[in-house]
Symmetry: C2
Subunit: 345 residues, 2 copies
C-alpha cells in the first residue's frame, strides 16, 4: 500500500496528527490508533512510547469530530447525479445516518449528470463551508478540487472514481458483477446475448460493458455489433434498443440490462413479446421478486456504499485516515427466474 | 380570496414591487404583470398609466431573479422527510429543474421525520443564506420560521401544511383521493375493508384515514376497530397489521394502503395468501402495472407538486406572489386489477 500522504499538513492547520505521533514514537499508524482507542495488542513499553509522543506533540484524538458534534453548522455535502434515481435513495440515507452519528448535517445536491454543474455545486458547497464532501462524480477531471482539499475539505468519491486526482474512492465491482451476470446467462445455454447500458463515458457503464465482453470472450462467443447498445437510459431509447435486438436475422435470446433504469424498460418490452427472453439486470429493483418471472439481478448494496464512503470521510476529518484508498465492494447475483429461462429457439 | 399581505415590505428591502406599481397606477396586479411581461389584453391608455408608475417608482422587473441568475451562490433549500422514499425522487427533481431554470442551485436535506431535526436543518440552511426554502415538514409548529420569513427567506410548504404560521402550501387532495379509492372498493362489493396508514400525527396519514372513514360512512358501513391500523411504515409493523386484519372472526376482504411504503409490504403479504384480497394503494409505484394482478392506486403527481411549489417560491422571490395560498392538487384513480377483485367469501 502506498504511503504518500495526501497533504503535508493536518487538515486542521498545524495540529499534530496520528501520523506525527507515529513518526515521533517510531511505530506504525495502526499502533498509535490502538493506543489512542484503548485497544488490545500493544506492549506496555510501546504504549508508554506512544503516550510520550502524544504528550510531547499535544495530540488530541478526534478533535475535529468533537468540534463537529458541538458546532451548529457542522455539515457535509453529498453530490448526486440524479435525485430521482431510486438507487441513490438508500445511499443518501446511509450517508445521512453516519453524518448524524457524528453530529453533522447532510446537505445534498445533484449534478444531473453534467460535469460543469457538478463543479459549480461542489464549489458552492465548499464556499458554504461544508467540512467534507461525498461525491458521485459526473465529470472525469477533479483537479478543480485540489485547492479545496488542501484547504481542508475532506473528500470521498463513491460509485464512480475521481478523475486526474488522488482521492478516496468507494466503488462496486462493476466489471466482476456484469461478468458474473452474463456468465450466468451463458451457463443457461444462451449465446446471443444483448447488452443495453448507459452512456460509455460513465465509468460504471464502461466497466459493465467490459464485464459483458469478458464473459463472452471467456466462453469463446464472438459478439455481433447489433448486440450492444449504449446511450442515455430514457425509456424511448432503451425500448428501441431492446426491440432492435429482438428483431432481425440474429435476434438475441437474452438481455443483460446495464442498470435499474434500463431493466425497468426492458421488463416492459419483454412482457410484450410472444417468445420468452431471459433477462439479468444490474442493480436490484423494488418488487423485482414479485414479477413473473422474478427478475434476476446483480445487486449492489447502495446502503453499504454510502456508509463506507461516509465513514471514510469522517475518518479523514478525525485524522485517522491519511492515505487515499480505492475500496471495491462485491456485488451479489440474486436468481429469481428471469435469468434462468432457457433460449427460446 | 384574502388580500392581507404577508409582509409590509418587499422581500428585498424597500425596492418597489408590482403591488406598489398597481396601487400607484390604480390597476390590478394582473394588469401590471401583463404590461411588465409584454402580454396582450391591456389598452394603450392603461399601459401608459402603468408605465408611468413604473418609471416614477423605479420598479424593475424580476430584479431578484436576475440577481439569482448572476450570483454564484444563489440557491434554494429543499427539506425532505426521508431521502430513501421514492415518492420524493420526482418531487426533488422537479424542484431542481425549476431552480436551474432560475439559475439557482438546489441543496437538500432530510429531517428523517424528526421535528427538531427539521428546525435545525431549516435554520442551518438559512444561516448559509439560501434565498428560499421548499419544506416537507415533519413538525407542526413553524413559528420558528417567522423571523427568517421577515428577514426575506421565501418559503413554501409542500405535501403537508405549515403549522401555526401563514405560508404558501401545496398539497395533494389526500382526503378526496383516499375517499375515492375506498369508495371504489365498496363499489366492487367490499364491506369489510382494512386501512393501514402512517403515524396519525402526519397530516397526510390523518387526511387519508379521514377519507377512508368518510367513504365507509357514506356507504353506511360501521367500521370495526380491528380494521384500521396506523403507525410506522416499516415492513414488520405493516406485515403484522395486515396479517391481523386477514385473520380472526371478521377478516377484511380488501385493504386500502395509506402510502407507497405500506403498499409494498401489503402486496407481499397478499401474495402469500390462499384467498384473493383486493388492494388499493395511495401513491403509484414503479412496475405496479406488471404485478399480477396489477396494483390499483390513487396516484399523486409528485413532479407537479414539486414544480408548483418551486414556481411559487420563485414567484415570491420576484415579488409577483404576495398573498399566501393553499393549493390542493387532485389525485387520480388508476385501475389495474387489484382494486377490482370481488370479495373472496
Amino acid at each position: 500500500m502506498p504511503d504518500t500522504p495526501r497533504r503535508s499538513e493536518s487538515r486542521y492547520g498545524n495540529r499534530p496528527t496520528m501520523k506525527d505521533v507515529a513518526a515521533r514514537a517510531g511505530v506504525g499508524l495502526k499502533t498509535v490508533s490502538r493506543v489512542v482507542n484503548g485497544e488490545q495488542g500493544v506492549t506496555p513499553e510501546t504504549e508508554r512510547r506512544v503516550q510520550e509522543a502524544i504528550d510531547a506533540l499535544g495530540f488530541r484524538r478526534n478533535d475535529s469530530a468533537r468540534v463537529l458534534r458541538k458546532g451548529r453548522t457542522a455539515s457535509i455535502g453529498l453530490v448526486l447525479e440524479d435525485l430521482a434515481d431510486p438507487f441513490y435513495g438508500p445511499l443518501s440515507r446511509s450517508v445521512e445516518e453516519v453524518a448524524r452519528a457524528h453530529g453533522a448535517l447532510l446537505i445534498n445536491g445533484s449534478s444531473a449528470e453534467d460535469p460543469d454543474r457538478e463543479q459549480e455545486l461542489v464549489l458552492a458547497l465548499c464556499a458554504r463551508r461544508v467540512d467534507g464532501l461525498v461525491i458521485i462524480p459526473a465529470g472525469d477531471d477533479h483537479r478543480y478540487l485540489e485547492q479545496e482539499i488542501r484547504a481542508g475539505v475532506a473528500t470521498v468519491f463513491v460509485d464512480r472514481p475521481a478523475g486526474k486526482t488522488d482521492a478516496d474512492v468507494v466503488l462496486s465491482d462493476n466489471f466482476g458483477g456484469a461478468r458474473d451476470g452474463v456468465a450466468h446467462l451463458i451457463a443457461h445455454g444462451h449465446r446471443r446475448i444483448g447488452f443495453i447500458g448507459d452512456m460509455p463515458r460513465i465509468h460504471t457503464a464502461a466497466e459493465r460493458l467490459r464485464g459483458y465482453l469478458a464473459a463472452m470472450e471467456d466462453a469463446g462467443i464472438p459478439v455481433e455489433d447489433s448486440w450492444t447498445s449504449l446511450g442515455v437510459t430514457d425509456p424511448l431509447r432503451v425500448r428501441r434498443a431492446a426491440e432492435d435486438m429482438l428483431r432481425g436475422p440474429s435476434p438475441v435470446t437474452a438481455v443483460f440490462a446495464g442498470n435499474n433504469r434500463v431493466s425497468v424498460t426492458v421488463i416492459r418490452v419483454l412482457a410484450e413479446q410472444t417468445r420468452r427472453v431471459a433477462l439479468v439486470g444490474f442493480d436490484d429493483i423494488e418488487l423485482a421478486d414479485l414479477l413473473h418471472p422474478g427478475l434476476t439481478v446483480v445487486a449492489q448494496d447502495a446502503s453499504v456504499l454510502g456508509r463506507t464512503a461516509a465513514e471514510r470521510l469522517f475518518g479523514q476529518l478525525d485524522g485517522s485516515l491519511i492515505v487515499p484508498e480505492r475500496i471495491e465492494l462485491p456485488t451479489r447475483l440474486i436468481t429469481r427466474g428471469s435469468g434462468e429461462l432457457p433460449p427460446a429457439d
